[in-house]
Protein backbone atom coordinates (compact mmCIF):
# COMPACT_ATOMS: atom_id res chain seq x y z
CA UNK A 1 0.00 0.00 0.00
CA UNK A 2 2.98 2.29 0.64
CA UNK A 3 3.97 1.99 -3.01
CA UNK A 4 0.39 2.69 -4.15
CA UNK A 5 0.42 5.91 -2.15
CA UNK A 6 3.80 6.93 -3.61
CA UNK A 7 2.42 6.35 -7.12
CA UNK A 8 -0.83 8.21 -6.25
CA UNK A 9 1.18 11.20 -5.02
CA UNK A 10 3.22 11.06 -8.20
CA UNK A 11 0.05 11.02 -10.32
CA UNK A 12 -1.23 14.08 -8.48
CA UNK A 13 2.13 15.82 -8.83
CA UNK A 14 2.06 15.07 -12.55
CA UNK A 15 -1.41 16.60 -12.91
CA UNK A 16 -0.20 19.68 -11.03
CA UNK A 17 3.12 20.04 -12.84
CA UNK A 18 1.67 19.44 -16.30
CA UNK A 19 -1.01 22.03 -15.52
CA UNK A 20 -3.85 19.54 -15.94
CA UNK A 21 -5.11 20.44 -12.50
CA UNK A 22 -4.71 24.17 -13.09
CA UNK A 23 -6.56 24.03 -16.42
CA UNK A 24 -9.37 21.91 -14.94
CA UNK A 25 -9.78 24.10 -11.88
CA UNK A 26 -9.50 27.40 -13.77
CA UNK A 27 -12.10 26.37 -16.34
CA UNK A 28 -14.22 24.78 -13.63
CA UNK A 29 -14.09 28.15 -11.86
CA UNK A 30 -15.04 29.89 -15.11
CA UNK A 31 -17.97 27.47 -15.48
CA UNK A 32 -19.21 28.34 -11.99
CA UNK A 33 -18.68 32.07 -12.60
CA UNK A 34 -20.62 31.97 -15.87
CA UNK A 35 -23.42 30.08 -14.16
CA UNK A 36 -23.45 32.68 -11.37
CA UNK A 37 -23.78 35.59 -13.79
CA UNK A 38 -26.46 33.82 -15.84
CA UNK A 39 -28.41 32.81 -12.77
CA UNK A 40 -28.22 36.35 -11.41
CA UNK A 41 -30.01 37.74 -14.46
CA UNK A 42 -32.50 34.87 -14.60
CA UNK A 43 -33.28 35.26 -10.90
CA UNK A 44 -33.81 39.01 -11.30
CA UNK A 45 -36.37 38.43 -14.07
CA UNK A 46 -38.06 35.48 -12.42
CA UNK A 47 -38.48 37.27 -9.12
CA UNK A 48 -40.04 40.23 -10.89
CA UNK A 49 -42.58 38.31 -12.93
CA UNK A 50 -43.21 34.84 -11.43
CA UNK A 51 -45.10 33.40 -8.51
CA UNK A 52 -43.08 31.62 -5.80
CA UNK A 53 -44.14 28.24 -7.24
CA UNK A 54 -43.04 29.26 -10.70
CA UNK A 55 -39.78 30.55 -9.25
CA UNK A 56 -39.20 27.14 -7.66
CA UNK A 57 -39.79 25.44 -11.03
CA UNK A 58 -37.46 27.84 -12.80
CA UNK A 59 -34.61 27.59 -10.29
CA UNK A 60 -34.89 23.80 -10.11
CA UNK A 61 -34.66 23.62 -13.88
CA UNK A 62 -31.69 25.99 -14.20
CA UNK A 63 -29.72 24.39 -11.36
CA UNK A 64 -30.32 20.91 -12.72
CA UNK A 65 -29.22 22.09 -16.18
CA UNK A 66 -25.99 23.33 -14.61
CA UNK A 67 -25.53 20.03 -12.80
CA UNK A 68 -26.19 18.19 -16.06
CA UNK A 69 -23.39 20.18 -17.71
CA UNK A 70 -21.18 19.56 -14.68
CA UNK A 71 -21.99 15.86 -14.94
CA UNK A 72 -20.92 15.85 -18.58
CA UNK A 73 -17.63 17.58 -17.67
CA UNK A 74 -17.04 15.10 -14.85
CA UNK A 75 -17.55 12.22 -17.28
CA UNK A 76 -15.13 13.73 -19.81
CA UNK A 77 -12.53 14.55 -17.18
CA UNK A 78 -12.69 11.14 -15.56
CA UNK A 79 -11.85 9.51 -18.89
CA UNK A 80 -9.32 12.07 -20.14
CA UNK A 81 -7.33 12.13 -16.89
CA UNK A 82 -7.08 8.34 -16.74
CA UNK A 83 -6.87 7.31 -20.33
CA UNK A 84 -3.12 7.73 -20.76
CA UNK A 85 -1.94 7.08 -17.24
CA UNK A 86 -1.08 3.42 -17.75
CA UNK A 87 -1.14 2.92 -21.52
CA UNK A 88 1.03 6.02 -22.07
CA UNK A 89 3.66 4.83 -19.64
CA UNK A 90 3.56 1.31 -21.04
CA UNK A 91 3.98 2.70 -24.56
CA UNK A 92 6.84 5.01 -23.63
CA UNK A 93 8.62 2.48 -21.44
CA UNK A 94 8.45 4.65 -18.30
CA UNK A 95 6.66 1.81 -16.54
CA UNK A 96 9.64 -0.54 -16.91
CA UNK A 97 11.83 1.08 -14.29
CA UNK A 98 8.85 1.44 -11.94
CA UNK A 99 7.92 -2.23 -12.22
CA UNK A 100 11.47 -3.42 -11.59
CA UNK A 101 11.34 -1.77 -8.19
CA UNK A 102 10.25 -3.94 -5.24
CA UNK A 103 6.59 -3.06 -5.70
CA UNK A 104 3.70 -5.22 -6.81
CA UNK A 105 2.20 -4.47 -10.17
CA UNK A 106 -1.21 -4.15 -8.57
CA UNK A 107 0.08 -1.38 -6.29
CA UNK A 108 1.30 0.59 -9.34
CA UNK A 109 -2.13 0.34 -11.00
CA UNK A 110 -3.97 1.01 -7.74
CA UNK A 111 -1.79 4.08 -7.12
CA UNK A 112 -2.68 5.40 -10.56
CA UNK A 113 -6.37 4.80 -9.84
CA UNK A 114 -6.16 6.58 -6.49
CA UNK A 115 -4.32 9.55 -7.98
CA UNK A 116 -6.79 9.94 -10.84
CA UNK A 117 -9.74 9.51 -8.49
CA UNK A 118 -8.40 12.26 -6.20
CA UNK A 119 -8.20 14.61 -9.21
CA UNK A 120 -11.72 13.65 -10.24
CA UNK A 121 -13.10 14.14 -6.73
CA UNK A 122 -11.49 17.57 -6.46
CA UNK A 123 -12.83 18.58 -9.86
CA UNK A 124 -16.33 17.30 -9.08
CA UNK A 125 -16.27 19.13 -5.73
CA UNK A 126 -15.32 22.41 -7.41
CA UNK A 127 -17.98 22.11 -10.12
CA UNK A 128 -20.88 20.74 -8.11
CA UNK A 129 -20.01 22.60 -4.93
CA UNK A 130 -19.70 25.80 -6.96
CA UNK A 131 -23.09 25.27 -8.63
CA UNK A 132 -24.80 24.61 -5.28
CA UNK A 133 -23.08 27.56 -3.60
CA UNK A 134 -24.04 29.90 -6.45
CA UNK A 135 -27.63 28.62 -6.45
CA UNK A 136 -27.86 29.26 -2.72
CA UNK A 137 -26.21 32.68 -2.77
CA UNK A 138 -27.75 34.09 -5.96
CA UNK A 139 -31.19 32.46 -6.07
CA UNK A 140 -31.61 31.31 -2.47
CA UNK A 141 -32.31 27.85 -3.84
CA UNK A 142 -30.88 24.48 -2.79
CA UNK A 143 -31.96 21.36 -4.67
CA UNK A 144 -33.36 18.54 -2.54
CA UNK A 145 -31.04 15.81 -1.27
CA UNK A 146 -27.73 17.06 -2.70
CA UNK A 147 -25.90 14.82 -0.21
CA UNK A 148 -27.50 11.85 -1.98
CA UNK A 149 -27.41 13.15 -5.55
CA UNK A 150 -23.89 14.54 -5.80
CA UNK A 151 -22.07 11.36 -4.67
CA UNK A 152 -23.87 9.61 -7.53
CA UNK A 153 -22.23 11.99 -10.00
CA UNK A 154 -18.86 11.15 -8.47
CA UNK A 155 -19.73 7.46 -8.67
CA UNK A 156 -20.62 7.88 -12.34
CA UNK A 157 -17.20 9.45 -12.98
CA UNK A 158 -15.60 6.65 -10.94
CA UNK A 159 -17.26 4.01 -13.13
CA UNK A 160 -15.79 5.55 -16.28
CA UNK A 161 -12.43 6.27 -14.65
CA UNK A 162 -12.13 2.62 -13.64
CA UNK A 163 -13.10 1.46 -17.13
CA UNK A 164 -10.43 3.75 -18.61
CA UNK A 165 -7.82 2.36 -16.23
CA UNK A 166 -8.81 -1.21 -17.08
CA UNK A 167 -8.66 -0.47 -20.81
CA UNK A 168 -5.25 1.15 -20.36
CA UNK A 169 -3.76 -2.12 -19.13
CA UNK A 170 -4.21 -3.67 -22.56
CA UNK A 171 -5.11 -1.01 -25.13
CA UNK A 172 -3.19 1.88 -26.61
CA UNK A 173 -4.25 5.34 -25.45
CA UNK A 174 -6.34 6.08 -28.55
CA UNK A 175 -8.00 2.67 -28.66
CA UNK A 176 -8.74 3.00 -24.96
CA UNK A 177 -10.37 6.41 -25.46
CA UNK A 178 -12.49 5.22 -28.35
CA UNK A 179 -13.58 2.17 -26.33
CA UNK A 180 -14.49 3.99 -23.12
CA UNK A 181 -16.34 6.82 -24.84
CA UNK A 182 -18.05 4.21 -27.03
CA UNK A 183 -19.24 2.38 -23.90
CA UNK A 184 -20.41 5.67 -22.42
CA UNK A 185 -22.31 6.29 -25.66
CA UNK A 186 -24.03 2.90 -25.32
CA UNK A 187 -25.07 3.71 -21.77
CA UNK A 188 -26.25 7.17 -22.83
CA UNK A 189 -28.44 5.99 -25.70
CA UNK A 190 -29.56 3.04 -23.58
CA UNK A 191 -30.75 5.48 -20.90
CA UNK A 192 -32.82 7.34 -23.47
CA UNK A 193 -34.24 4.08 -24.86
CA UNK A 194 -35.29 3.14 -21.34
CA UNK A 195 -36.99 6.51 -20.76
CA UNK A 196 -38.75 6.53 -24.12
CA UNK A 197 -39.72 2.87 -23.72
CA UNK A 198 -41.26 3.62 -20.34
CA UNK A 199 -43.07 6.69 -21.63
CA UNK A 200 -44.53 4.86 -24.64
CA UNK A 201 -45.08 1.53 -22.89
CA UNK A 202 -42.59 -0.22 -25.17
CA UNK A 203 -41.14 -3.04 -23.06
CA UNK A 204 -38.47 -4.08 -25.59
CA UNK A 205 -37.00 -0.60 -25.70
CA UNK A 206 -37.11 -0.35 -21.92
CA UNK A 207 -35.35 -3.68 -21.39
CA UNK A 208 -32.74 -2.73 -24.00
CA UNK A 209 -32.03 0.39 -21.96
CA UNK A 210 -31.81 -1.54 -18.71
CA UNK A 211 -29.38 -3.95 -20.36
CA UNK A 212 -27.18 -1.04 -21.47
CA UNK A 213 -27.30 0.36 -17.94
CA UNK A 214 -26.11 -2.93 -16.55
CA UNK A 215 -23.29 -3.00 -19.10
CA UNK A 216 -22.17 0.52 -18.13
CA UNK A 217 -24.17 2.01 -15.23
CA UNK A 218 -23.10 5.62 -15.85
CA UNK A 219 -26.28 7.14 -17.35
CA UNK A 220 -28.58 5.47 -14.86
CA UNK A 221 -26.58 7.05 -12.03
CA UNK A 222 -27.19 10.46 -13.56
CA UNK A 223 -30.89 9.64 -13.95
CA UNK A 224 -31.10 8.66 -10.31
CA UNK A 225 -29.16 11.76 -9.20
CA UNK A 226 -31.42 13.99 -11.31
CA UNK A 227 -34.50 12.33 -9.80
CA UNK A 228 -33.24 12.86 -6.25
CA UNK A 229 -32.24 16.50 -6.78
CA UNK A 230 -35.55 17.70 -8.22
CA UNK A 231 -38.42 18.99 -6.10
CA UNK A 232 -41.11 16.26 -5.98
CA UNK A 233 -43.59 18.52 -7.75
CA UNK A 234 -41.23 19.07 -10.70
CA UNK A 235 -40.16 15.47 -11.13
CA UNK A 236 -43.66 14.09 -10.70
CA UNK A 237 -44.95 16.45 -13.36
CA UNK A 238 -42.45 14.79 -15.72
CA UNK A 239 -42.30 17.87 -17.87
CA UNK A 240 -38.59 18.61 -18.13
CA UNK A 241 -35.76 16.71 -19.84
CA UNK A 242 -34.36 15.91 -16.40
CA UNK A 243 -37.50 14.28 -15.06
CA UNK A 244 -36.97 10.55 -15.55
CA UNK A 245 -40.01 8.47 -16.45
CA UNK A 246 -38.20 5.32 -15.39
CA UNK A 247 -36.40 5.92 -12.11
CA UNK A 248 -33.40 3.64 -11.66
CA UNK A 249 -33.66 1.40 -8.64
CA UNK A 250 -31.40 2.10 -5.66
CA UNK A 251 -30.03 -1.37 -6.40
CA UNK A 252 -28.34 0.28 -9.37
CA UNK A 253 -26.08 2.08 -6.89
CA UNK A 254 -25.09 -1.24 -5.38
CA UNK A 255 -24.55 -2.59 -8.89
CA UNK A 256 -22.36 0.42 -9.78
CA UNK A 257 -20.27 0.04 -6.62
CA UNK A 258 -19.78 -3.66 -7.32
CA UNK A 259 -19.07 -2.81 -10.95
CA UNK A 260 -16.27 -0.44 -9.89
CA UNK A 261 -14.83 -3.01 -7.47
CA UNK A 262 -14.87 -5.85 -10.01
CA UNK A 263 -13.57 -3.69 -12.88
CA UNK A 264 -10.76 -2.39 -10.67
CA UNK A 265 -9.87 -5.93 -9.59
CA UNK A 266 -9.84 -7.02 -13.25
CA UNK A 267 -7.67 -4.02 -14.16
CA UNK A 268 -5.14 -4.88 -11.44
CA UNK A 269 -5.10 -8.54 -12.52
CA UNK A 270 -4.78 -7.61 -16.18
CA UNK A 271 -1.85 -5.28 -15.49
CA UNK A 272 -0.23 -7.85 -13.27
CA UNK A 273 -0.30 -10.56 -15.90
CA UNK A 274 0.76 -8.59 -18.96
CA UNK A 275 4.24 -8.41 -20.43
CA UNK A 276 5.90 -5.02 -20.36
Amino acid sequence: MRAALVIARMTLAEARRRRILAAALALGGAFVALFAVGLHFIARDVRAHATPTQQGFAFAYVVLAALYAANFLIVMTSVLVTIDTLSGEIGSGVIETLCTKPVSRWSVALGKWLGCWAILALYAAVLCGGVLAVARLVAGYTPPQPWRGLPLLLLEGTVLLTLALAGGTRLSTLANGVTVFGLYGLAFIGGWMEQIGTLTGNAASRYLGIGASLLVPSESLWQLAAYLMQPPLVRDAGMGPFSPHSVPSPAMVVWALAYVAVTLALALASFRSRDL
Binding site: R2, A3, V6, M10, E14, R17, R18, S92, G93, V94, E96, T97, L98, C99, T100, K101, P102, V103, S104, S273, D275, L276
Partner: protein, 299 residues
Protein backbone atom coordinates in the same frame (compact mmCIF):
# COMPACT_ATOMS: atom_id res chain seq x y z
CA UNK B 1 30.67 -21.61 -2.43
CA UNK B 2 28.14 -18.75 -2.43
CA UNK B 3 24.91 -19.21 -4.36
CA UNK B 4 24.91 -17.61 -7.81
CA UNK B 5 23.48 -14.12 -8.08
CA UNK B 6 21.44 -15.30 -11.01
CA UNK B 7 20.61 -18.76 -12.24
CA UNK B 8 18.08 -19.65 -14.90
CA UNK B 9 17.28 -22.87 -16.66
CA UNK B 10 15.53 -23.47 -19.99
CA UNK B 11 13.89 -20.08 -19.97
CA UNK B 12 11.67 -19.73 -22.99
CA UNK B 13 9.44 -17.00 -24.41
CA UNK B 14 7.01 -17.61 -27.19
CA UNK B 15 4.83 -14.91 -28.78
CA UNK B 16 2.24 -16.89 -30.71
CA UNK B 17 4.25 -18.90 -33.21
CA UNK B 18 7.33 -16.70 -32.91
CA UNK B 19 10.02 -17.77 -30.50
CA UNK B 20 11.78 -14.78 -28.95
CA UNK B 21 13.89 -16.82 -26.54
CA UNK B 22 14.29 -20.54 -27.18
CA UNK B 23 16.33 -21.82 -24.27
CA UNK B 24 18.16 -19.54 -21.91
CA UNK B 25 20.25 -21.41 -19.40
CA UNK B 26 22.95 -19.54 -17.55
CA UNK B 27 24.42 -18.80 -14.20
CA UNK B 28 26.13 -15.64 -13.03
CA UNK B 29 28.28 -15.72 -9.93
CA UNK B 30 28.06 -13.11 -7.21
CA UNK B 31 30.42 -10.22 -7.83
CA UNK B 32 30.89 -11.15 -11.48
CA UNK B 33 30.66 -8.68 -14.37
CA UNK B 34 28.83 -10.68 -17.00
CA UNK B 35 28.48 -9.66 -20.64
CA UNK B 36 25.43 -10.77 -22.57
CA UNK B 37 26.24 -10.54 -26.26
CA UNK B 38 24.45 -11.25 -29.47
CA UNK B 39 23.25 -9.68 -32.70
CA UNK B 40 20.09 -7.60 -32.94
CA UNK B 41 17.01 -9.77 -32.58
CA UNK B 42 18.86 -12.52 -30.73
CA UNK B 43 16.49 -12.21 -27.78
CA UNK B 44 18.80 -10.34 -25.40
CA UNK B 45 16.33 -7.68 -24.27
CA UNK B 46 13.48 -10.19 -23.91
CA UNK B 47 15.81 -12.40 -21.88
CA UNK B 48 16.74 -9.50 -19.64
CA UNK B 49 13.08 -8.57 -19.19
CA UNK B 50 12.27 -12.14 -18.17
CA UNK B 51 15.05 -12.02 -15.58
CA UNK B 52 13.62 -8.75 -14.27
CA UNK B 53 10.05 -10.00 -14.11
CA UNK B 54 8.80 -7.61 -16.79
CA UNK B 55 8.03 -10.44 -19.19
CA UNK B 56 6.58 -13.77 -18.10
CA UNK B 57 8.48 -16.80 -19.40
CA UNK B 58 6.47 -19.33 -21.39
CA UNK B 59 8.55 -22.07 -19.80
CA UNK B 60 11.52 -22.52 -17.53
CA UNK B 61 12.44 -20.63 -14.43
CA UNK B 62 15.20 -19.61 -12.14
CA UNK B 63 16.32 -17.56 -9.23
CA UNK B 64 17.48 -14.01 -8.77
CA UNK B 65 19.43 -13.38 -5.58
CA UNK B 66 17.86 -16.46 -4.06
CA UNK B 67 14.25 -15.59 -4.87
CA UNK B 68 12.16 -17.00 -7.73
CA UNK B 69 12.07 -14.84 -10.86
CA UNK B 70 9.38 -12.15 -10.80
CA UNK B 71 9.16 -11.85 -7.00
CA UNK B 72 9.19 -8.28 -5.64
CA UNK B 73 11.44 -9.55 -2.81
CA UNK B 74 14.35 -10.06 -5.21
CA UNK B 75 13.79 -6.67 -6.83
CA UNK B 76 14.64 -4.97 -3.53
CA UNK B 77 18.30 -5.58 -4.31
CA UNK B 78 18.51 -5.05 -8.05
CA UNK B 79 19.01 -2.04 -10.27
CA UNK B 80 18.03 -1.73 -13.92
CA UNK B 81 18.95 0.67 -16.66
CA UNK B 82 16.85 -0.05 -19.78
CA UNK B 83 18.28 0.45 -23.24
CA UNK B 84 15.99 3.40 -23.90
CA UNK B 85 15.61 4.91 -20.46
CA UNK B 86 12.24 6.65 -20.39
CA UNK B 87 11.00 8.73 -17.49
CA UNK B 88 8.51 11.39 -16.48
CA UNK B 89 9.96 14.29 -18.43
CA UNK B 90 8.27 16.90 -16.26
CA UNK B 91 10.31 15.82 -13.24
CA UNK B 92 13.59 17.38 -12.20
CA UNK B 93 16.65 15.12 -12.01
CA UNK B 94 16.72 15.12 -8.23
CA UNK B 95 12.96 14.49 -8.03
CA UNK B 96 13.27 11.48 -10.33
CA UNK B 97 15.85 9.88 -8.06
CA UNK B 98 13.84 10.68 -4.93
CA UNK B 99 10.72 9.14 -6.49
CA UNK B 100 12.52 5.94 -7.45
CA UNK B 101 14.24 5.88 -4.07
CA UNK B 102 10.87 6.03 -2.31
CA UNK B 103 9.68 3.07 -4.38
CA UNK B 104 12.71 1.21 -3.05
CA UNK B 105 11.57 2.06 0.46
CA UNK B 106 14.28 4.66 1.11
CA UNK B 107 13.31 7.73 3.08
CA UNK B 108 14.62 10.58 5.15
CA UNK B 109 18.37 11.11 5.42
CA UNK B 110 19.22 7.77 3.82
CA UNK B 111 17.28 8.76 0.70
CA UNK B 112 18.85 12.23 0.56
CA UNK B 113 22.36 10.85 1.06
CA UNK B 114 21.90 8.27 -1.67
CA UNK B 115 20.39 10.73 -4.14
CA UNK B 116 23.01 13.43 -3.60
CA UNK B 117 25.87 10.92 -3.74
CA UNK B 118 24.64 9.44 -7.00
CA UNK B 119 24.02 12.85 -8.56
CA UNK B 120 27.65 13.69 -7.81
CA UNK B 121 28.84 10.32 -9.08
CA UNK B 122 27.20 10.73 -12.48
CA UNK B 123 28.32 14.38 -12.58
CA UNK B 124 24.80 15.80 -12.52
CA UNK B 125 24.84 17.49 -9.11
CA UNK B 126 24.51 20.92 -10.66
CA UNK B 127 21.80 19.80 -13.07
CA UNK B 128 19.74 18.14 -10.34
CA UNK B 129 17.20 20.95 -10.25
CA UNK B 130 16.80 21.09 -14.01
CA UNK B 131 13.78 19.57 -15.67
CA UNK B 132 14.55 16.23 -17.33
CA UNK B 133 13.10 17.37 -20.63
CA UNK B 134 16.01 19.84 -20.81
CA UNK B 135 18.61 17.08 -20.38
CA UNK B 136 20.82 16.06 -23.30
CA UNK B 137 20.83 12.41 -24.39
CA UNK B 138 24.01 11.75 -22.44
CA UNK B 139 22.62 13.39 -19.30
CA UNK B 140 19.48 11.26 -19.57
CA UNK B 141 21.57 8.14 -19.79
CA UNK B 142 23.60 9.21 -16.74
CA UNK B 143 20.53 10.01 -14.63
CA UNK B 144 19.19 6.60 -15.70
CA UNK B 145 22.41 5.02 -14.47
CA UNK B 146 22.07 6.85 -11.15
CA UNK B 147 18.49 5.55 -10.90
CA UNK B 148 19.78 2.00 -11.41
CA UNK B 149 22.28 2.40 -8.58
CA UNK B 150 19.83 3.68 -5.96
CA UNK B 151 19.77 1.66 -2.76
CA UNK B 152 23.20 0.07 -3.41
CA UNK B 153 21.83 -2.93 -5.34
CA UNK B 154 23.56 -6.33 -5.24
CA UNK B 155 22.80 -7.01 -8.90
CA UNK B 156 22.68 -4.37 -11.61
CA UNK B 157 21.28 -4.93 -15.10
CA UNK B 158 22.64 -2.50 -17.65
CA UNK B 159 21.13 -2.62 -21.14
CA UNK B 160 23.38 -0.69 -23.51
CA UNK B 161 24.55 1.70 -20.77
CA UNK B 162 26.91 3.63 -23.04
CA UNK B 163 24.29 4.29 -25.70
CA UNK B 164 24.33 7.98 -26.56
CA UNK B 165 27.34 8.76 -24.41
CA UNK B 166 30.45 10.60 -25.58
CA UNK B 167 33.91 9.14 -24.79
CA UNK B 168 33.98 10.83 -21.38
CA UNK B 169 30.55 9.47 -20.57
CA UNK B 170 31.64 6.00 -21.65
CA UNK B 171 34.66 6.28 -19.39
CA UNK B 172 32.37 7.22 -16.52
CA UNK B 173 30.22 4.13 -17.10
CA UNK B 174 33.33 1.97 -17.27
CA UNK B 175 34.58 3.44 -13.98
CA UNK B 176 31.19 2.91 -12.34
CA UNK B 177 31.20 -0.74 -13.42
CA UNK B 178 34.69 -1.15 -11.96
CA UNK B 179 33.53 0.43 -8.70
CA UNK B 180 30.55 -1.92 -8.60
CA UNK B 181 32.82 -4.88 -9.12
CA UNK B 182 35.16 -3.66 -6.39
CA UNK B 183 32.17 -3.50 -4.03
CA UNK B 184 31.22 -7.06 -4.93
CA UNK B 185 28.15 -6.05 -6.93
CA UNK B 186 27.16 -8.36 -9.75
CA UNK B 187 26.72 -6.63 -13.11
CA UNK B 188 24.74 -8.07 -16.01
CA UNK B 189 25.78 -6.06 -19.03
CA UNK B 190 24.17 -6.06 -22.43
CA UNK B 191 26.19 -4.03 -24.91
CA UNK B 192 27.00 -3.86 -28.57
CA UNK B 193 30.25 -2.09 -27.83
CA UNK B 194 32.50 -5.14 -27.65
CA UNK B 195 35.55 -3.05 -26.81
CA UNK B 196 33.68 -1.88 -23.68
CA UNK B 197 32.70 -5.42 -22.80
CA UNK B 198 36.25 -6.60 -23.32
CA UNK B 199 37.67 -4.23 -20.73
CA UNK B 200 34.87 -4.50 -18.15
CA UNK B 201 33.53 -8.07 -18.17
CA UNK B 202 34.86 -11.16 -16.45
CA UNK B 203 32.81 -13.53 -18.54
CA UNK B 204 30.50 -13.36 -21.52
CA UNK B 205 27.73 -15.41 -23.08
CA UNK B 206 26.93 -15.27 -26.78
CA UNK B 207 23.27 -15.52 -27.67
CA UNK B 208 21.94 -16.45 -31.08
CA UNK B 209 18.36 -17.25 -32.07
CA UNK B 210 17.26 -17.08 -28.47
CA UNK B 211 19.75 -19.50 -26.97
CA UNK B 212 23.18 -19.29 -25.42
CA UNK B 213 25.62 -20.72 -27.96
CA UNK B 214 28.83 -20.14 -26.05
CA UNK B 215 30.03 -18.93 -22.70
CA UNK B 216 33.61 -17.95 -22.03
CA UNK B 217 35.78 -16.20 -19.54
CA UNK B 218 37.61 -13.14 -20.76
CA UNK B 219 40.75 -14.01 -18.79
CA UNK B 220 43.86 -14.36 -20.96
CA UNK B 221 44.14 -18.08 -20.31
CA UNK B 222 40.78 -18.64 -22.01
CA UNK B 223 41.70 -16.96 -25.23
CA UNK B 224 43.92 -18.65 -27.83
CA UNK B 225 46.85 -16.98 -29.51
CA UNK B 226 46.45 -16.51 -33.24
CA UNK B 227 49.84 -17.17 -34.93
CA UNK B 228 50.63 -15.88 -38.38
CA UNK B 229 53.62 -17.32 -40.32
CA UNK B 230 55.16 -16.31 -43.63
CA UNK B 231 57.54 -18.89 -45.06
CA UNK B 232 59.46 -19.25 -48.32
CA UNK B 233 57.70 -22.49 -49.29
CA UNK B 234 55.08 -24.96 -48.04
CA UNK B 235 56.45 -28.47 -48.56
CA UNK B 236 54.14 -31.48 -48.35
CA UNK B 237 53.44 -32.43 -44.75
CA UNK B 238 54.11 -28.94 -43.33
CA UNK B 239 50.50 -28.18 -42.57
CA UNK B 240 50.01 -31.57 -40.94
CA UNK B 241 53.14 -31.04 -38.89
CA UNK B 242 52.03 -27.61 -37.70
CA UNK B 243 48.86 -29.18 -36.38
CA UNK B 244 50.89 -30.82 -33.63
CA UNK B 245 51.59 -27.33 -32.19
CA UNK B 246 48.05 -26.02 -32.25
CA UNK B 247 44.75 -26.19 -34.08
CA UNK B 248 42.83 -24.64 -36.96
CA UNK B 249 45.92 -24.63 -39.23
CA UNK B 250 45.09 -23.02 -42.55
CA UNK B 251 46.76 -21.43 -45.55
CA UNK B 252 45.66 -17.86 -46.04
CA UNK B 253 47.25 -16.54 -49.25
CA UNK B 254 50.98 -16.19 -48.63
CA UNK B 255 50.55 -16.87 -44.92
CA UNK B 256 49.93 -19.84 -42.70
CA UNK B 257 47.74 -19.36 -39.65
CA UNK B 258 47.11 -21.51 -36.62
CA UNK B 259 45.95 -21.15 -33.02
CA UNK B 260 48.15 -22.10 -30.10
CA UNK B 261 47.43 -22.15 -26.40
CA UNK B 262 50.16 -19.80 -25.22
CA UNK B 263 53.45 -18.11 -26.06
CA UNK B 264 55.65 -20.95 -24.80
CA UNK B 265 54.81 -22.87 -27.99
CA UNK B 266 56.44 -20.28 -30.25
CA UNK B 267 60.20 -21.07 -29.77
CA UNK B 268 59.58 -24.77 -30.40
CA UNK B 269 57.49 -23.90 -33.43
CA UNK B 270 60.24 -21.77 -35.01
CA UNK B 271 62.88 -24.47 -34.29
CA UNK B 272 60.67 -27.10 -35.91
CA UNK B 273 60.20 -24.95 -39.04
CA UNK B 274 63.98 -24.48 -39.33
CA UNK B 275 64.41 -28.24 -38.95
CA UNK B 276 62.05 -28.76 -41.88
CA UNK B 277 64.33 -26.59 -44.04
CA UNK B 278 61.69 -23.91 -44.35
CA UNK B 279 62.78 -20.24 -44.40
CA UNK B 280 60.80 -18.22 -41.87
CA UNK B 281 60.27 -14.56 -42.85
CA UNK B 282 57.60 -13.56 -40.37
CA UNK B 283 56.11 -14.91 -37.16
CA UNK B 284 53.53 -12.91 -35.24
CA UNK B 285 51.26 -13.93 -32.40
CA UNK B 286 48.36 -12.00 -30.90
CA UNK B 287 45.33 -12.61 -28.77
CA UNK B 288 42.08 -12.62 -30.70
CA UNK B 289 39.80 -9.69 -29.99
CA UNK B 290 36.31 -10.20 -28.62
CA UNK B 291 35.01 -8.88 -31.91
CA UNK B 292 36.74 -11.66 -33.82
CA UNK B 293 35.40 -14.24 -31.43
CA UNK B 294 31.93 -12.69 -31.71
CA UNK B 295 32.07 -12.92 -35.51
CA UNK B 296 33.25 -16.49 -35.32
CA UNK B 297 30.54 -17.54 -32.89
CA UNK B 298 27.67 -15.51 -34.31
CA UNK B 299 28.67 -14.88 -37.89
Amino acid sequence: MPAPALEVKALRKQYGRRTAVADLTLSVAQGEVFGFLGPNGAGKTTSMKMLLGLVRPTAGGGQLLGAPLGQPRARQRIGYLPEHFAFHEWLRGRELLRFHGRLLGLQGDALSRDVEGLLRRVELAEAGERCLREYSKGMRQRIGLAQALLGAPQLVFLDEPTSGLDPLGRLLVRDVIRELKARGTTVFLNSHLLSEVEVTCDRVAFVRDGRVVREMSLGLAERDLEVELRVDRVPPGLVTGLASFGRDVREDGACLRLRVEDETTLPALSRWLAGQGVGLYHLAARRRSLEEIFLEVIG
